[in-house]
Amino acid sequence: MQAQGEPRVNRRRRDWRGWKFMWPFAAVFLFVTVIPIFYAIYISFFQNRMIGGTVFVGFANYVRLFKDPLFWSAVGRVALFTVVQVPIMLFLAALMALALDSMKLYGTKFFRISSFMPYAVPAVVSTMIWAFMYSAKYGLVGSLNDWFGTHLNVLSPSVLLAAIGNINTWEFTGYNMLIFYSSLSTIPHSLYEAAAIDGASEWQIVRRIKLPELKGSLAITVIFSIIGSFQLFNEPSIMQNMVPGNAISSSYTPNMYAYTLSFSGGQTNYAAALAIVMAIITMAIAYLVQLKSMKEQMN
């Protein structure tokens, strides 16, 4: 509670200077993202029929969505995917970043480049390569089966999601690692020296100095990883034809479902409603997960 005579800490002075730097990004963002979102919301209240043209249907698309079992199983699938894949990937990325930053490796530069390389490969190519390796008949898994007499099938429906998760982890661990590493590299080394002189062990330095520093970049990587994995599309879409038994249906993930609806089913309006609902779900989860640290960021 503030005493009467004290100046209010956050007296608004309407400082517009920031906009000098913010406006280019904001302008393009408005054009490229915000307006299309409003448009998507708009069309989600209509339906474009082959017979009858465009018709206003109110919330009918949303009602249909809530009752749609394909949608909810897709949501469940990406939720499961997120909950498992994101922690694994970020854990690996953080470990790798710490290892690189510790300067205790032979050939640090080599490890830095090699872990980032997978990110440089377009999704089409990575998926193609991994899908080949996974093939139980002609791929590496097939060869393993031949050599060891096993009957592994990593593309069977029960482990398929994990197989896709592996591709994602392969693609993005280096990416996240670079963010963590970038963050760690801003710690001045004199801090380490001071801590060493004070008698801190290596472990303590990691725990007290490095990990807290990582927390900042953890916020960003967690949010973007969650958003990214909820939007899983590239890998399952490309693998569709390579997976036996059509285990990847056209509504395997919400994004794939939206894609199929828009481009094979001619139901762009329903797809728009789906996108809006997915956005709300994703945002809710992202906020829940990062509520505390984002509040800190804002102040």
């Binding site: 920031g18 913010m22 448009y39 440089a120 377009p122 963050s183 894609y259 728009a272």
Partner: protein, 331 residues
């Protein structure tokens, strides 16, 4: 070492040659002892000793396993780029084909279909230089604004951006397309470049980095000296932000280089395709009735596609080094 010799120079004069030698030996022993103590200290706090960190074999081996995991598929790419189409369908994935066709494949990649691959390559470079370059600039400026200025609407900007990127890009694709079609921008390089200018991730990255790397006091000092905001930005802040800028540039370059879905929607004309879509089209030839499979070209093309990114990363590494040094010296 310094301490020992200092003490020695202050010592009383030597009386005989034997004494001299004994003193020398003692010097030597002390020096060795100090060095040993030094090394022991360094061992205990490995990385804290910037000059001489002790390297760990164990850690290197563990990281090597991870490196193998990362590089393994590249091996597949390399090996299969040496195969002809016939070999590709018949031989074991990680084994070599009957002939070594790498140079032939490369030549064919650049001459197939009247050399359209080179056109795709140039397109991609255009999109990346203008698109990613622009994206980095916008993200740097925006992140700087968010970190260093408390402007009205700041919170709203943040909320809107996080909200907007939560919307699945797939569903935005059609409205984006319709918007661009109305303005007549589809099927042109602008359809690729303008959406690439927005990198929410880059923005966030630069925001955090600006907060960490640019001390507000420095800015205040410059303002007091009468410098405009723009001048301050260019002369004071940018140099400090260098490592962050390099990271953001790297990410936007890769994202634009590998962007697949955006050009799929926006670009009809194959002469404006970037490499990703072009390669995909070649890959699909095999599934076209009456089409000729050219998977060996797809693989070789993919290999060629990756190389510039690797080079970019290697080049940017230098700035990485100096950025690190700057970060270490700063206090």
């Amino acid at each position: 070492m310094s301490t020992a010799t200092l003490q020695e120079t202050a010592a009383p004069a030597v009386h005989s040659r034997r004494d001299a030698r004994r003193k020398e030996k003692e010097l030597e022993r002390r020096r060795l002892r100090d060095e040993k103590a030094e090394r022991r200290r360094a061992r205990q706090a490995g990385f804290a000793n910037v000059a001489n960190p002790r390297r760990s074999k164990m850690l290197t081996i563990v990281c090597a396993i991870f490196a193998i995991y990362c590089l393994f598929p590249f091996l597949y790419l390399l090996i299969n780029a040496t195969k002809t189409q016939a070999d590709f369908t018949s031989t074991f994935g990680l084994g070599f084909g009957k002939t070594f066709a790498l140079w032939d494949n490369i030549k064919t990649v650049f001459t197939y279909q009247d050399g359209i691959f080179s056109r795709w390559f140039l397109n991609t470079i255009l999109y990346v230089v203008v698109g990613a370059g622009g994206a980095t600039l916008l993200a740097v400026m925006g992140g700087y604004a968010l970190a260093k200025f408390r402007f009205p609407g700041r919170k709203a900007v943040f909320v809107v951006i996080i909200g907007a990127i939560s919307v699945p890009g797939i569903a935005l694709a059609v409205p984006q397309f319709l918007l661009f079609a109305q303005i007549g921008l589809t099927n042109s390089p602008w359809a690729m470049i303008i959406p690439s200018l927005v990198s929410p991730f880059g923005l966030y990255l630069m925001w955090i980095f600006s907060e960490q790397a640019v001390p507000t006091e420095l800015l205040e000092a410059a303002r007091v000296d009468g410098a405009s905001e723009m001048r301050t930005f260019f002369t004071v802040s940018l140099p400090l932000l260098a490592p962050g800028i390099v990271t953001t540039a790297l990410f936007t370059i890769v994202a634009t280089w590998n962007n697949y879905f955006l050009p799929l929607i926006m670009i009809r004309d194959s002469s404006w395709y970037p490499l990703t879509i072009g390669l995909n089209q070649w890959k699909d030839q095999a599934s076209n009735a009456g089409g000729q499979a050219i998977q060996n070209l797809v693989i070789t093309g993919s290999l060629i596609t990756i190389i510039p990114l690797v080079i970019a990363f290697l080049l940017l590494q230098k700035y990485w080094q100096s950025g690190l040094a700057a970060g270490a010296v700063k206090e």
